[in-house]
Assembly symmetry: C2
Homo-oligomer: 238 residues x 2
């Protein structure tokens, strides 16, 4: 088990209104050589995006307000646009989608099963936590992918806004029913472990694991800080 | 009950490979004054597209092959692109999405419930039949919407290709298991009634219903002929 599972919760920074994308772009530490080969990088990312689409649409189907359905449909659209870019990059490299995605399907589907909520608000919170964390992670991972591929993927993943519509739905839900706070805080905390394992599974780890951990640690610390900021903005303890 | 429910099945035309969009564009009869006001026209169409997205993504989530997930994700993307155009048209008319979609939600959700399949192939067939028929219908309905609105919506609905990926999935399934044919043929026939009722519910009918029926009849005859061609291409009896 990586040491970042045992570390104490990073001190929550003051809630800010910095958009996620700007904050993600400001991340400094590099995953460098832990980034996988382009086919693995793209295949895993594309497979994850399929589960994001399924996750968001399940929440959309269960929404009772038309405005929420619309907001979730737009979030699905943003994820689909990113998926399309990943598909274009696979074509550019003459890689077969099935070949590169198949090895990751069992893992991401198990991840989806473990993180899908029963109640509607849990479903929205799941999308909020997992898509937020993993998109930040994948943008960071892109930095270690050589050439323009990494940069193009990072730009695609920063394009559009999946988090804000999810944030607004949760914010309204909590305002209407303040008792939801503690439940959603617990649920979100429960999700972070699986989400970090999913991120970690994308890294190419070496025999000398202590060196790997030294490289992983600061990145995950920053990603958890990002997650904590998202929770803070909802008034939830991360 | 409209007379087109009792009419005998239109004679199946020889299977052709004409793409749906071209065939739809070649439709000649007009729904004219039966088209609803722009807010009702757009609201109903947008609400339907939300259910198309949910329907396709449910099938995507249940797909076991990565290639099928990818094909269904792309179909979702096409429907989402059309939904985005509808949203732009609503904004252009300064109409609130919730206001115009809400009156149609109960109807389209009931329609979705009645047409959602239990088995995966039934889910794909449901999307194939209902999206195919209703998109043809809405393109036709657009002809009765005054100004450029109708034309822009018709163009948006003809953009992209939802049917082909669904067709290919069903074609492969039937080839692998020919006994599926009769089951899918029955299931598809079962869907057409609900689908035609859904289409009919979008029309503005008048007190003089005999004149309405005279106008509806030839349009539905053509739409059923289109549906029959889609079934023929799959080797299924419509």
């Amino acid at each position: 088990m990586a040491s970042w599972f045992r570390r104490s919760r990073p001190r929550a920074e003051a809630p800010t209104l910095t958009p996620r994308d700007t904050a993600a772009a400001a991340l400094r530490v590099d995953l460098g050589e832990l980034a996988p080969a382009p086919d693995v990088f793209l295949g895993h990312c594309a497979a994850l995006h399929l589960t994001f689409i399924e996750q968001l649409t399940a929440a959309m189907a269960n929404a009772t307000r038309v405005a929420d359905k619309d907001a979730l449909a737009r979030a699905v659209g943003t994820v689909l646009d990113r998926y399309r870019v990943l598909a274009v990059e696979l074509e550019r490299l003459h890689l077969d989608k099935t070949d590169v995605m198949q090895p990751h399907m069992a893992g991401v589907e198990e991840f989806k099963r473990r993180t899908e909520g029963g109640e509607w608000y849990e479903q929205v919170a799941s999308a909020h936590v997992t898509i937020g964390f993993l998109t930040d992670f994948w943008i960071r991972l892109s930095g270690g992918v050589p050439g323009e591929l990494g940069q193009r993927v990072a730009e695609a993943l920063a394009e559009g806004d999946v988090q804000s519509p999810l944030h607004r739905i949760l914010e309204r839900a909590i305002a209407a029913n303040p008792r939801l706070s503690s439940r959603l805080a617990l649920w979100s905390r429960r999700l972070v472990g699986d989400t970090m394992l999913q991120a970690r599974s994308a890294l190419t780890l070496h025999a000398d694991s202590s060196r790997d951990e030294a490289q992983i640690e600061p990145v995950f610390t920053e990603l958890i800080a990002e997650h904590t900021r998202r929770m803070d903005r909802l008034g939830l303890t991360a």
